[in-house]
Symmetry: C2
Subunit: 193 residues, 2 copies
């Protein structure tokens, strides 16, 4: 379920606090202050800091899923087009949601086991999408790589790392970067000439 | 300077403790116990937990540098051969030093600013090596990619991520993986036909 407008304020405030101080050193009191509400108003929506961490991470998965749907809706069944569209979604997430993306890398390990399982299951769908596009392309002969699984992992890793260097004030737009990484991803998959 | 045999025992004990509990929750008392020494014996070599973290990370850089030297000493000046040799070193580090590699990803941000600067400077040399091999290959026309900088970042990201899935008990040896990732890295760089 998408967070309410109120919950979105809490999620954004918690994200800022976690990015600033890391999960361990973050204070739920500061998050409430940052959101401009009392601690009890915050506790009405989220029972603790862990609950907020899960909400932030699930919110990121939802944002990524929406980007995938949007990009894939523009293209047909051709695996090359679908691969390029998915790379655009991956790059958009790592650039437009840069802070979220960096937080995933450092804070997922602070999820308690039960929440980690919830998150892992939700997150898997995005990773499976890339795998299924590659599988389709292998079956149809559109991709000829001998290493489809290494390609899948490599495409995820190389797009994930964009969040480490992307500069929103720099010369490269997310669309520029997506076009280049679309080319690189296709080179790995060795499309049929 | 390489750590003494004694210091190596402390470094290994600290690494185990940091991997188990994370830097923040790790205890220098546990590290001393793990190393089989008194706390004062440990303090004689390292003034605090931060000092041990820096020592572990620098030790990782040294291990990686040694792997680079070894692999590059086997090949001549050809950029394609040098690129493959460097990928072997990158993959060896991410597989043989898997624990170390994963620790870098999560614990570097716990370095205090002064130590982060020391580490960053030492670490840079490895990243520059890949950049200089790619530059050489671009100048000589051995590589024809329009995006050498994206290739450099992608090759680092895709090899770094190997530590996340490598299974020492699995069927793939580090040499198998290095051969595949050498192929993939070269595809990105578009070697002259």
């Amino acid at each position: 379920m998408a967070p309410s407008e109120r919950q979105r304020v809490f999620i954004e405030a918690a994200r800022r606090e976690f990015v600033r101080n890391g999960y361990g050193a973050s204070s739920i009191r500061t998050i409430a202050q940052e959101a401009g509400v009392s601690l009890s108003a915050l506790y009405y929506h989220y029972k603790n800091k862990q609950d907020l961490l899960l909400a932030i991470l699930i919110d990121g998965v939802n944002a990524f899923d929406a980007m995938c749907d949007e990009e894939l809706s523009r293209v047909g069944d051709d695996p090359v087009e679908r691969l390029r569209a998915l790379v655009v979604a991956l790059v958009r997430f790592r650039t437009i949601c840069q802070e979220q993306s960096l937080m995933i890398g450092t804070e997922v390990r602070n999820l308690e086991p039960e929440n980690a399982a919830v998150y892992e299951q939700r997150r898997r769908s995005g990773n499976e999408l890339l795998g299924s596009i590659i599988d389709d392309g292998m079956r149809s002969g559109a991709f000829t790589t001998p290493y489809p699984e290494d390609c899948r992992r490599s495409i995820l890793a190389m797009t994930t790392s964009i969040a480490n260097w992307y500069d929103p004030d720099g010369p490269d737009t997310p669309a520029d970067i997506a076009a280049r990484y679309g080319d690189l991803a296709l080179l790995l998959l060795q499309p049929r000439p």
